[in-house]
């Protein structure tokens, strides 16, 4: 505004004086350079450089990698959260999520506990190739699979299967380390006793702390085994707990476990919306999902054209994100389970299969954005990264 107009305002002189004073005594923001990033990185660094400090053999198929920060600082996490490891295997850069199994009170390292997956690209790499002293990169801690004092009761019931024990291990370790006023009933299902990760430690903690109630459920035990056998059924839960009132439910394990256990919890009248469910990666055998078009076979080949230039061929049964990575195109990802939206890309032409219920924003759907980690080509595609 022109000076001569400004001067006509009542109160103009006062404001001029105020400006003068604040210019004299105001903050010099140039001294705060880098501060925003520093504050953010203390809690949520987008990348952590890690070094493998120790490798612990847990079972025949499972190892714990103890990861230290190269710069000495690891951001805090909430027990149950995961990190996304970024690795290069066979010249392909990719990522996988691993829950932190160590306690948040242990600030010197993050433990991740990795179980072998048949033909699994990253699990086999981590178990067979990675040595003490190697460097790895990860995201900051992520995810909402943790105790939330506003949503959850102080008494929680956890259902775990296979490597799904890892987030609960962190939660239990934190409760016992810090003496938190919370109670855990952990049902841990496994095919055999040998296969159970942390069985020793859990048995001990359960004996030592009245707040930890560990209930291993073994599918096919040898005759000596005295504990619960079979699967984690409604009966097993009911028998053990008696009343279900005032308890919150958590579940983490392989996909098959959800298929079995959720209906069991239904039988007990537990509201599904109140069950905290961890993700388990991209759906296995997507072509068996409801809604998958019967005319498309998993091995059908389609062409994907990226940003109007580069193109490659891929299978219908392969998640688009993985296909992009195989072709040297890195799309940032975290959960690889469709939940976090990090791998959001735009579909310009063609059709994909994205399982029903994938939490894609309404307007993202309208404009063709998809979560590439759980999107499968049903057509030749054109996409924009």
């Amino acid at each position: 505004m022109k000076q001569e107009l400004l001067e006509q305002f009542e109160g103009y002189d006062e404001i001029r004086r105020e400006i003068e004073i604040s210019r004299k005594f105001g903050d010099d923001f140039s001294l705060e350079k880098g501060q925003v990033a520093e504050y953010v990185n203390r809690l949520h660094p987008s990348l952590i450089n890690l070094r493998v400090g120790k490798i612990i053999e847990e079972t025949a198929s499972t190892k714990t990698l103890r990861l230290m920060a190269v710069n000495g600082y690891l951001p805090p996490f909430q027990a149950g959260q995961y990190i996304s490891l970024s690795v290069e295997v066979d010249m392909v850069r990719t990522g996988r999520a691993y829950s932190i199994s160590s306690s948040p009170s242990q600030t010197g390292y993050y433990d991740i506990t990795v179980r072998r997956v048949d033909n699994g690209r990253v699990s086999n790499f981590l178990l067979d190739k990675v040595k003490v002293g190697d460097f790895l990169q990860s995201s900051g801690p992520q995810g909402t699979f943790h105790y939330h004092p506003i949503l959850h009761q102080k008494e929680i019931v956890c259902l775990a299967g296979g490597s799904g024990i890892t987030p609960f291990m962190s939660m239990i370790r934190e409760i016992t380390d810090r003496g938190l006023p919370r109670t855990v009933h952990l049902f841990y299902g496994s095919r055999t006793l040998d296969d159970m990760i942390f069985h020793q430690e859990l048995s001990q903690l359960s004996e030592q702390f009245s707040s930890i109630n560990y209930i291993p459920v073994i599918e096919g035990p040898d005759c000596e085994y005295k504990g619960k056998t079979g699967y984690i059924t409604a009966e097993v839960i009911q028998e053990t707990l008696g009343s279900l009132a005032g308890k919150s439910f958590f579940i983490c394990g392989p996909q098959a476990m959800y298929k079995f256990c959720l209906p069991e919890l239904d039988k007990l009248g537990i509201n599904r919306r109140k069950i905290k469910q961890e993700m388990f990666g991209p759906p296995i055998n997507i072509w068996e999902y409801q809604g998958w078009p019967s005319e498309i076979k998993a091995e059908d080949r389609f062409t994907v054209r990226v940003n109007g230039s580069k193109s490659f061929e891929t299978n219908a049964g392969e998640p688009l994100l993985a296909a992009l990575e195989d072709n040297g195109l890195v799309v940032p990802s975290l959960c690889r389970s469709g939940e976090c939206s990090q791998c959001r890309i735009k579909l310009v032409a063609g059709r994909v299969f994205q399982p029903e219920g994938t939490p894609v924003r309404k307007s993202d759907r309208k404009y063709g954005y998809i979560h590439s980690c759980v999107s499968y080509p049903l057509d030749n595609l054109e996409i924009l990264l």
Partner: protein, 499 residues
Amino acid sequence: MTDYDVIVIGAGNAGLTSAAYLTQKGVKVLVLERHNVPGGSATSFCRGRFEFEVSLHQICGIGTEKAPGPLRNLFERIGVLDKLEFLEMNDLYNFLYLPEKRSITLPPDIGEIAALLQGLFPKEKEAIKAYLELVTKVAYGVISVQYLQDPDASKDKYPEYFKYALKNTQEVLDRFFKDPILKSVLGAYWGYLGVPPDRLGFSDLALMFRAYCDFKPQHFKGGSQALSNAIADAILENGGSIRYNCGAEKIIMKNGAVQGVMTQTGDEITSRFVISNSSKISTYYELMDPEDVPEPIKAELRQTTVAMSSFVLYLGFNAEPRDVGFIESTNFMVGSIDNEMAYKRMKALDINENDFAAISCYDLIDPQFSPPATCQAMALALKYADPWLKVPPAQYADTKYQCAESFLNVLDNFFPNIRNHIEEIEIATPLTFMRYLGTPGGTFYGFDNFIKDSEMFLPNDSKVPGLYNAGCWVGMPGYQPTLESGVRTAKSIVKELNA
């Protein structure tokens, strides 16, 4: 030859509208956005079966088809009008006065407001009439003199405007009214401007109040992300490019003029013009070398202070709005009519009865906002970042939960059923906004909205050839001002390109 005509840093409201406008005019534009979605504050995120609206309570300036506001025209010009569905709200706001558990709902019509308040405060009947007339005159003064730049503007032509514009709001309210609650009801929009009435210029409040009455508070089908996605889509349709997950690291300068931008991955992209939708502080002190920052800008920056951020609860309920206790969509909870107290509370960590807080339930505007038989709400308390910066990282999560608990205790006063129906909850602190917006103090309002730092005294001039700023750091905060800021900036560039 440069790679692009214009590079836009940031896909917030202002960055998006500037790019959409320019691409409509055939200008070759690249937008760089650090995040993986467009919108900045104007965005949403999913938790469970809810898609939470991050920021928008109410947008002003759209108007109706019959009486269009400036934003409707703007949307048409940038090619997104057909992509958007507007949702008009029935009320301006519901004022909840905690100490007396009293509730007054203002309709979005200046005549109806007068009638309602005159009925409730009969002793101040005349004052109410006179005050609302003043609001109108000052608001039209701002529009005629500041925005339309009436060449004949003078104190004589717009006497009320020149007399009251720079006064603080409290002073004006005190001059007209006796009843403290009446003053508080009429001043409640200060929450949208971020500084209490005794520090807020009256022209800002008058303009906002009058404009919300004229154009009606509105929302979007699909929330604010529907707006950002629509504009981003228009940019792509027009041949513009947007790179997500790609922050700008540096504005490249040569001989004191803009040459392009270096991205965080080290790519150097050339252009003669750069529009920065990033904070003014980061534009000059992070993206530029100190020797390139003009002295007048350094002086300007010294005079300003960073605005507040907020503590926000995003709440998903397994019940209909009325079962949770929501009757109006926009509710302001006022615990204290003492400005000093309100300001002090903005600098505290926790939330108590004396905080200025707002809660919006969007399902009362659009029953389909959330899935059937559910609803969502956003509860917000204005907070500066300072105390949060002092929380040790290891205690951050616990502090967050404690503060959420304290906020729920306040909400219990008006919505006694609120806790029973929570299915999802996400808690955002000033540090959360800092993380997602990258702004100093986690603010989404730019600088503190004091009169001395308004556009009247700090015109939006980057003082660097080729560099333009757009957004809440170089004008008023909020949706309408930032959307307009982008287009205004784009227009100056078009002028420059054509020159």
